[in-house]
Amino acid sequence: MRHLPRLRGAVSASLCCSSPTHIRTTTAVAAVATTSSSSTKTQSLQRRTLSTSLPRSDAVEAYTPPQGLKPPPQARKAAVRPDKITDPAYEPAQDGLELEEVGGLDGWWENPDNYGVGRQWVGYGPAEKITDPAVLEVAVYRALVEAMVARRQMNTPDTTPARDALLESGWGPAALTATTVQTKLCGGSHGTLILKPTEDVETATAAEQEAEVTEEAKEQLEAAVTPEQEAEVVEAKEEVTAVASERVAEITEETKEEAETGVASGQETETEVKEEVDATEDSADHVISTEEARALLKEIGHEWKRPMIKDLIYKYFVAKRIYKLTGHRIPDGKLVAINSGGVLLKEIVKPPKAKKLAEEIENKQLFQSLPNVKVFPRRVTPIDKEKMVGRWKVIREELERRGLPVIGTANIDNAIEKKWVTGAK
């Protein structure tokens, strides 16, 4: 009988002490115990000993199976007596060759009744990656907007639940995507990506004008702004973007607005925030279709693709949001190089690398215009060659007429005459 410490049991998981020395001592105790007495008595809570013996019959009887997983039937130690057999079709075997194999636990878990259902891995993102370029572009834009709102909230305290809820929410209703996308992103005074102030904002501050400056004027501004001024500009920019993002905040989740105003009033409680988050999560996630995405893309434009993204935490938020929305995990190594919305989009929309050269040739249309080049996706076999010259049909007919195998040797040995000719033994 084999004893191996293997799995950490369900019970032991809660009782388990994480200190390694503790585990070591219990193992030692269990090891001593198993050598001294029977294994059934010394079942340790820390480590379960597994054996190759059959399941204990008493345990099977007393057991009520939990959710879905069906334990195997009790092992039978003796055959049913012939006089107790009810099946009229039963005929006892006369020798060993006639015995049929019945039962057994091979492929026991292949049956969903035994294995249970709903054991699929559930990841952070959707089960299927989104590959449609238009939908991806909308998703990236939405992620950029929402991540910017979340990033800006980091300055105000006690917004962590609201921020997490924003970053970890799904697509939400279709209207949410549409309204989020209406918020414009553009280049700020330093060429970095910011939320564009809306037209209805009347507070025309100097910072707002700076935020709207075009690419040409940017350089002049940059030259003029000293480090001290820069800090002021950043602050002023935040005020502007706060107004702009209120629209987003209103629609995406009221929680954010509350969290912002909560700094002043200090009356909002976290429970309220959570309730509202739950309320928004109840509405089914609507992943937009290609047509919807194309319509939204006309509104979005391309202005957001150029400006720089430098802030690391913002990038992290964006990556997290994109993973949630599209299922594309942006690895950290790539995050380093991503410095604008356009680069980010390109990274995600990029089709997966072709695994085979023939596929790559097909994708890139390398020999499309060359009539003298033929590309075969698989090995050209002798049969293929015969087919190309139209001889295969004849060969097949002739082989069939002679009763010979068309493909393969049909396990016929080499010709015996060969031995006579070559003299081999």
Partner: protein
């Protein structure tokens, strides 16, 4: 009997008047998995489009041959073929091999021992013991 000189007629030779490339087809085989095909795969992707465009008179076939070294096989109008294994070669080395296949005549390689080789008959004619004065003893 008056000796009549034979009129020399120009013989049909490749390159006189017309040139027919001897190489009619080049097969390229590669493997998707093996490392020895890396150069060949790169060649097919990067250099073959240009090479094939420059040689419309040669037919190219590209097909995988899994678990085998990459090979380029030239087929010639004399019915012979010339296979060259291009394992572990860089794309530009393979290009050189393809140029070799293109320029080859398809004939079996022969050892050239004579400094001059010509298909023109000798102006002196073939020596005969029954003609001429012979050597006085």
């Amino acid at each position: 009997m008056a000796v009549k000189a034979l009129h020399a007629i120009s013989q049909g030779r490749n390159g006189v008047g017309a040139f027919i490339l001897q190489c009619k087809r080049i097969d390229l085989h590669y493997c998707d998995w093996a490392g020895s095909s890396r150069g060949m795969n790169g060649f097919i992707k990067s250099l073959l489009p240009k090479f094939a465009a420059a040689h419309p008179e040669i037919e190219f076939t590209v097909s995988p041959r899994p678990a085998k070294h990459p090979v380029a096989i030239g087929h010639y109008i004399n019915g012979r073929s010339k296979p060259i294994c291009v394992r572990n070669m860089e794309p530009y080395e393979i290009l050189k091999k393809l140029e070799l296949l293109r320029d080859a005549s398809g004939e079996k390689l022969k050892k050239v021992t004579k400094p001059v080789r010509s298909i023109n008959e000798s102006v002196r004619g073939i020596w005969s013991p029954y003609h001429g004065n012979g050597m006085p003893l």
